[in-house]
């Protein structure tokens, strides 16, 4: 630890704080407050809701909710949710209708007027925004007069009605030049000021596993109600489920995609879709959709209204104070492989500060690796050391860790990291059994030497999309038709690995890591020198 810390301290020390840092902060604070007032006063423009509804109806289904047709990897929120619908709208615009779709600013204005119910607001965009390209472009919207109604019956005191901000991201998804229509692909809200941001930790198109708990550092202001939900978009309709939002100190928490999806299409392609109610089983199929969370003064609205596919339009005299939404790809929880009969799924280890005890001599390998639950009964946090593998935390109480150990013997011990005298004492053994053959060995079996490497990537680099095994099959170099390409290690381990087996011997192993956007970048590779196996560079 000390080695890395001193290195980081040395490099970090190059950043010298200014002597007048606090004065600068104070001036910045004053400047921002002044800019907000100026921006609101100068750039405000009012959307006449009645006028915009007529144009907007041309792009919506007859029932008032967004029409839903078609499928495909198309990640947008508004006005269309599917590629087929967006293509129809593009054709309509090409024919001379709805020219406002070509203007990012007007599209944003209509979005906040119709979806959030705002009436007086300003739309601004950063200097240098390129409106002739495909985007994405990000526009800020701020209210002039906050949509704060009279106090609700039975409530006292002023409600928090400061100016609201919404950040809207748009992209040209059908055609990427100046003739392409803009679609809203991401929305973030800010209330009461721009630093209390309601924003999902996902980017458009990110994969979200069923049942995932979302944490957003956001404090719901007094007088508001927050509601969260998610919507599955099927071929014949959509289904929305709402989730309870829990405020936990400085963050809100809720679960997404925690329901199954059922679709019933009729022969003409219409029909409906539904999701089961709260407390239901996890999602059963992979499907596109979106997640959203909104804050509102209107309790009726906040208790069951989907901003994008709700059957009801936004009620009159109703407004959304802050909205965050992002289109994503929902996937079911990977189905677990039945565990070995003789061994538990989770190993139990007890540490008392001086000794380490393995309470379950064997543990069954799981699809994501080997699970070990450590009970630390001492009065201080300890570290957990796996000989020849690495280490982990063992805080006071119970803590479960998962590691990709191969089947066989693992040596481990708990220790006080600050009293480590460097002696290899106190190790105990745990036997990892893999009766179902989940683990695929990844040690190279080379007749001659091996080669390997670890490529560097620029910040923000995007990886290949899809399953890592398919990535190697598709982009591998030097593969023979008879080569067997499959996962290595555990199929669901945190950092997936893929191996190439030639004539029964492992001749190449590729390790991938998540690029943060649903893609996979190769972190490292090893291959037998005479195999000539590699992976094409990501372009």
């Amino acid at each position: 630890m000390g080695e890395y810390r001193s290195m980081l301290e040395r490099v970090g020390g190059r950043a010298k704080p200014a002597d007048d840092a606090f004065d600068r902060l104070e001036r910045l604070r004053q400047r921002r407050q002044r800019n907000r007032r100026i921006a609101t006063a100068v750039f405000a423009f009012v959307i006449a809701i009645s006028g915009s509804f007529a144009a907007f109806e041309a792009f919506r289904g007859s029932n008032g909710s967004a029409a839903i047709r078609g499928t495909g990897p198309f990640y947008a929120l508004w006005p269309e949710l599917t590629l087929a619908d967006a293509q129809q709208s593009q054709a309509a615009v090409d024919g001379g209708a709805g020219a406002w779709r070509l203007d990012a600013r007007t599209t944003t204005g209509r979005f906040v007027a119709l979806t959030l119910g705002w009436s007086d607001f300003a739309v601004t965009m950063p200097d240098g925004t390129n409106l002739d390209g495909p985007g994405p472009v990000t526009l800020d919207v701020s209210t002039l007069a906050p949509p704060c109604p009279s106090p609700l019956p039975g409530t006292e005191g002023p409600m928090n009605c400061g100016p609201q901000w919404e950040t809207v991201t748009l992209e040209r998804l059908v055609r990427q030049d100046a003739t392409g229509i803009w679609s809203v692909t991401d929305v973030e809200g800010a209330f009461p000021s721009s630093d209390n941001v309601l924003s999902f930790p996902f980017a458009p198109g990110d994969t979200v596993v069923s049942g995932q708990e979302v944490s957003i550092p956001f404090v719901v202001p007094d007088g508001l109600t927050a509601v969260a939900g998610y919507t599955y978009i099927g071929k014949c309709g959509s289904s929305t489920a709402f989730e309870n939002v829990k405020q936990d100190n400085s963050e809100i928490l809720f679960r997404v995609a925690g329901s199954t999806f059922k679709e019933s299409c009729t022969s003409n392609g219409s029909g409906g879709s539904s999701s089961s109610g709260p407390g239901r089983a996890d999602l059963n199929v992979a499907i596109d959709g979106y997640v959203f969370v909104l804050a509102s003064h209107d309790l009726d609205l906040a208790s069951g209204w989907d901003p994008f596919t709700g059957g009801e339009p936004l009620p009159r005299d109703t407004s959304v104070v802050a909205l965050a939404a992002v289109p994503v790809h929902f996937v079911p929880v990977p189905s677990p492989t039945p565990a070995a009969a003789a061994a538990p799924d989770v190993a139990e280890v007890a540490c008392d500060g001086t000794t380490t005890q393995v309470l379950t001599p064997e543990v069954a390998a799981q699809p994501d690796g080997v699970h070990i639950r450590v009970t630390n009964t001492s009065s201080q946090d300890l570290s957990l050391e796996f000989r020849d593998f690495g280490g982990d935390n063992a805080p006071v109480g119970k803590n479960e860790v998962v590691w990709p150990f191969p089947p066989g013997t693992v040596e481990l011990r708990c220790m006080d990291p600050y009293l480590d005298n460097g002696t290899p004492d106190g190790y105990v053994t745990l036997e990892v059994v893999d009766q179902n053959g989940i683990y695929h060995p990844l040690a190279l079996e080379c007749a001659d030497g091996a080669v390997g490497g670890s490529p560097s990537y620029a910040e923000g680099a995007r990886g290949w999309e899809g399953d890592p095994v398919d990535i190697v099959r598709e982009h591998g170099i030097g593969l023979l038709p008879s080569d067997d390409v499959s996962y290595a290690g555990y199929p669901k381990q945190q950092q997936p690995q893929v191996r190439v087996v030639r004539e029964g011997a492992v001749v190449g192993v590729f390790e991938f890591f998540d690029d943060g956007h649903g893609g996979w970048l190769m972190g490292s590779y090893q291959a037998c020198g005479d195999a000539g196996v590699g992976l094409a560079a990501r372009r």
Binding site: A15, L25, P136, S193, D381, A394, M415, E459, G460, G516
Partner: protein, 184 residues
């Protein structure tokens, strides 16, 4: 696999860096200015290590402190105001990365200047940092420099603890390789 040499103690405040940094006090700071004076240098260094850009680090630091300032009455009562500060800063950083990534989708090759990536050949540590992703750097800075446990670092970064461990491990491995290569 290298040993993940992670601090075993789950600390609630960043471990105080030796010599120059003020020690965390048991009593919460009385004024925002006192809190700022106690924390801003360390936060700036951490953000510099994460972003690789001094100007960006200063902007993020200012944004984070402004956010804390606006709700100082609430933050000062928190058990861990410093943790809240770092969380706010990392959230702002994450938001920037997210937007930059979106822009990079169509503007390949126009990444922001990273001082570490163009560091002098002799400065192996800085060049090592330049090979890490922003998330790897953040995990490394939080766990190694600031002494957060992976659970708390995960809360600050908005990811699971295991993700922090993996990111930090990747960071250490890459740094080690870079250093070994430069030694060799």
């Amino acid at each position: 696999m290298d040993r993940m040499n992670e601090p075993g103690s789950a600390v609630s405040e960043p471990v105080t860096a030796p010599t120059t940094e003020p020690a965390p006090t048991a009593e919460p700071p009385v004024t925002f200015e006192a809190f700022f004076q106690a924390e801003h240098a360390r936060l700036l260094r951490a953000l510099f290590l994460v972003t690789g850009n001094e100007q960006e680090a200063e902007e993020l630091m200012q944004d984070a402190f402004l956010a804390v300032w606006e709700r100082w009455d609430r933050v000062r009562e928190m058990e861990r105001p410093t943790g809240y500060l770092y969380r706010t800063a990392m959230n702002a950083f994450r938001s920037r990365v997210r937007r930059a990534a979106r822009a990079a989708k169509r503007l390949v090759g126009c990444a922001e200047e990273d001082e570490f990536a163009r560091a002098d050949q002799r400065d192996a540590v800085a060049r090592g940092l330049g090979t890490l992703t922003p998330r790897q750097r953040a995990a490394l800075v939080l766990t190694e420099l600031l002494g957060y446990g992976s659970e708390e670092a995960g809360e600050i970064l908005g990811v699971k603890a295991v993700t922090v461990r993996v990111l930090a491990s990747q960071g250490r491995t890459a740094m080690k390789e870079k250093l070994e290569r430069s030694d060799g």
